[in-house]
Symmetry: C2
Subunit: 143 residues, 2 copies
């Protein structure tokens, strides 16, 4: 059986939480509170390749991440998406949107570009502060 290894492009992002199934990564884009939920299951590129138990755990952890984003950053709307055109390893984007954000109502995944599309970095100390706020919310928020 293969061991799970986080894709190196995903691994560049800081870990915000490690849960039962998934590792939660924080995306450095100040326009949107944004995490990536990565189930630590080797050789999986599609949700339907997971066992029924892992599927249920994944959506539970996606919901928990959504609640934490709401608690920490108060977005109006949550987006959830598994795309994988650039990074095949299964990963689920969970991010907050607001009617006042710079891309509303467009999706955040832009034409022909890497994920995320033209990010606006938090800078220093904004990134560390946002990550700490997120980590506290991820710890606090239950299923």
């Amino acid at each position: 059986m293969t061991e799970f290894v986080l894709d190196e492009r995903l691994a560049r992002r800081p870990v915000a939480a490690d849960w039962g199934l998934s590792t939660v990564l924080f995306v450095d884009d100040a326009r949107f509170p944004w995490v990536i939920v990565v189930p630590r299951v080797p050789d999986v590129t599609e949700i339907h390749q997971l066992s029924a138990g892992d599927q249920a755990a994944l959506i539970g952890e996606v919901a928990r991440a959504s609640r934490a984003l709401k608690a920490a950053f108060h977005p109006e709307k949550i987006n959830v998406a598994a795309l994988g055109h650039h990074v095949p390893q299964l990963h689920v984007h969970v991010l907050g949107r607001n009617r006042s954000d710079p891309l509303w109502p467009d999706p955040v995944w832009g034409p022909g570009e890497r994920e995320p599309h033209n990010p606006v970095p938090y800078g220093d100390p904004g990134f560390g502060e946002a990550l700490e706020k997120l980590r506290a919310a991820l710890d606090r928020v239950m299923f």
Copy 2:
């Protein structure tokens, strides 16, 4: 308790299947095999508002729809997304992508447009034929 009523914009699409939790709608865009999975739960706009049981049922039905799309249309990749910027009622897009499709690797949800973005209709009899092929696969494919 409110009764569930399918959003009228979603209701314009033909029903491909009615499952335990969700109704599966077929999208008339010949570029991508595409369904919309709508849990029949009133007043829900976000996945994390569903009960844990309904969350597990939803991801199971999303997986089942993914398998049916693979079986009927053989796409290389499945996209799964809950966005809801235009239609707030919770609905999950499940669609097939190919490296040769006209938008790869961009997402199918285009800037500032209705869902789907500039669809290319199947026409007649292509739409009915595709719908029948999908329905047969949705019936056949188990969890």
